[in-house]
């Protein structure tokens, strides 16, 4: 099949999906984070009865509403693309992807849309407590929606709890709990939502800093900074923990992605973690060039984080492509077969599927059973059968490496930002720290860059797979005209940009207006 697929079709389909997914992801993390921040603020209002907290809550709720409205339906495009551009994939994953998405759709619709209306229209019409419950339910609803889609994504990174049915060419869910509670899915969910909490905190911190720079709405700004900094500091520390959990799972389930994240070409025992580094341009996995122009490493840290053992062997890109059999000084062996052997097994699996189908059509049940067994024995390498070059299992190393390091560096910067904000609040001199206020303001785009970088690591780092080891991107794409995908790519780019400009204008205007029409405003 790979010989027949137009590579420009695959590339344009990927580009289009990346464009729409990244556009969608511009709005989701702020929804996730800001929902909890305003719920905390409203809780303080209900507990204290201080109307100033109501004003603060309503102001951030307005910005939440604008962001929510901007993001509405942007995810629907992705579903369109599944049916048009990725029909092989959509069919192949079957109910595994369908079930979580259906639950997500129902939950999002009923929980979020119902309580969002109560939250916005209910001030002074329902009791304070019921309004507060609605706000918390919006926050939990948004996060629950994220849960289901991330469970589906986690399954693609680590397919489990299913069985491939050769009669229908679909993966069928055998164990819902294995899919739902997969360690990859759980870590992915926690890491993703906590990144949203951090982004939401930085948004509140940055906008509040801007108010202080301008000398406006000082009380609102200071109180918002306190909530955002405390929430941000706690969640950014949690983000580090869940990031560690995610990377640990990557090491176990997607070692090539880990090698790309760290630019590790040659496997090492007691491998160091690259803190800062620049990759050598044009490096091939099997040449003799040094992988780095320069790097600063934390000794043994990669082994420790990846396998909870400072002396563990971490396979590099070359080891994974060529296969490895490594025994450490304690006699512990780690090994894996080469990509070439996996490709052979994958082709056996694909042939078995084709022959199974022919035997079924011919009514030869005995032969069909034989081919089914061969298919099942080799199914874990099914996707490799679509590849011809062992090197094609290597993702874009520079993109994965730099995205990962940008995300991590910014994550630690944000921890420092929240901590410093709290120190200045404690010393009661935050307003005078203009440099800090400007840094907080300009951290807003950095939070978005970190968030998008995380997804680039997750999705680019797992290439060439759509479903790890069992379906490569090239086999997942529909056989449609590449030019039509190209047209819709540019169409999306134009429409999204126009809508984004219009909507951001509304957001900025509301920020500039501030909470003037509410109690205790300017």
């Amino acid at each position: 099949m790979i010989e027949n697929v137009d590579i420009s079709l695959v590339d344009w389909s990927r580009a289009q999906f990346a464009l729409t997914a990244m556009y969608h992801w511009m709005f989701v993390p702020l929804t996730l984070g800001l929902a909890f921040i305003m719920a905390i603020m409203e809780t303080i209002y209900v507990k204290t009865g201080n109307p100033e907290w109501k004003t603060i809550t309503k102001f951030w709720m307005t910005l939440f509403g604008i962001n929510f409205a901007i993001g509405v339906a942007t995810g629907l495009i992705l579903e369109f693309e599944f049916g048009t551009n990725w029909s092989n994939y959509s069919w192949f994953v079957g109910d595994i992807f369908g079930a979580p998405l259906a639950i997500e759709g129902i939950m999002a619709f009923f929980l979020e849309s119902t309580f969002i209306a109560v939250m916005f229209f209910g001030w002074n019409k329902i009791s304070k407590k019921f309004h507060l419950v609605s706000t918390w339910l919006v926050a939990f609803g948004a996060n629950l929606s994220a849960l289901w889609i991330l469970v589906a994504n986690g399954w693609m990174q680590f397919p489990t709890g299913m069985k491939f049915n050769p009669e229908t060419a679909r993966n069928e869910m055998e164990n819902f709990w294995e899919v739902f509670l997969s360690p990859v899915a759980i870590n992915k969910f926690l890491h993703t939502i906590s990144s949203g909490y951090v982004l939401g905190s930085i948004f509140v911190l940055g906008i509040s800093a801007w108010f202080l720079i301008r000398g406006r709405h000082k009380l609102l700004a200071k109180r918002s900074i306190i909530v955002a900094s405390v929430f941000g500091l706690i969640t950014s520390l949690f983000l580090v923990m869940t990031g560690d959990g995610s990377a640990y799972e990557v090491a176990q389930k997607q070692p090539m992605k880990l090698a790309a994240m760290e630019g590790l070409y040659e496997g090492q025992e007691g491998a160091g973690l690259v803190a800062v580094g620049a990759l050598t341009p044009g490096k091939e996995y099997n040449d003799n060039k040094d992988a780095f122009l320069f790097k600063v490493e934390i000794p043994k840290m990669l082994s420790l984080l990846s396998y909870r053992d400072a002396d563990a062997f971490v396979p590099g890109v070359k080891d994974i492509v060529e296969g490895y059999d490594y025994t450490n000084k304690n006699g512990v062996t780690t090994n894996d077969i080469s990509a070439e052997e996996k490709i052979k097994k994958g082709k056996i699996a694909i042939n078995a599927l084709a022959n199974f189908r022919k035997a079924k059509e011919a009514g030869n049940e005995a032969k069909a059973k034989e081919y089914r067994i061969t298919l099942e024995e080799n199914f874990q390498y099914f996707g490799y059968g679509y590849l011809n070059d062992p090197a094609s299992i290597i993702p874009n190393v520079p993109l994965t490496f730099y995205s990962f390091h940008i995300m991590v560096a910014l994550g630690f910067l944000f921890i420092a930002l929240f901590a410093v904000a709290l120190v200045f609040i404690y010393k009661n001199n935050l307003e005078k720290q203009k440099w800090f206020l400007w840094t907080a303001l300009f951290s807003i785009p950095l939070a978005y860059i970190a968030s998008q970088s995380g997804w680039i690591v997750a999705e680019e780092g797992r290439q060439p797979w759509v479903i790890q080891d069992i379906l490569p991107t090239v086999a997942a794409v529909s056989q449609i005209d590449a030019s039509s995908v190209q047209i819709t790519f540019w169409l999306f780019a134009a429409i999204f940009t126009a809508l984004l400009i219009a909507e951001i204008k509304i957001l900025i205007r509301q920020i500039k207006i501030g909470p003037k029409d509410q109690e205790g405003g300017k």
Binding site: T62, S90, F121, R357, Y386, A502
Partner: protein, 76 residues
Amino acid sequence: MNKHQNIFKRIYLFYYNGFRDMPKYGIQLWILILLKLFIMFGILKVFFFPDILETQFETEEEKSKYIIEQLTKPNQ
């Protein structure tokens, strides 16, 4: 809101008053949402994003046969 009114009427009035009293930016956002939904469902979905399997095949059997053909092409 009158608590003695019918529950459905109260819910209706809750939404009716909510939309009626919506600030200007809320109206603008609703216009953008509706415009976005029209572009997505009225133009993109209809003209650019047909569901390949739904439009080309009628039965599940036909769809699975097609996908198996797609997935096993090089080996036939």
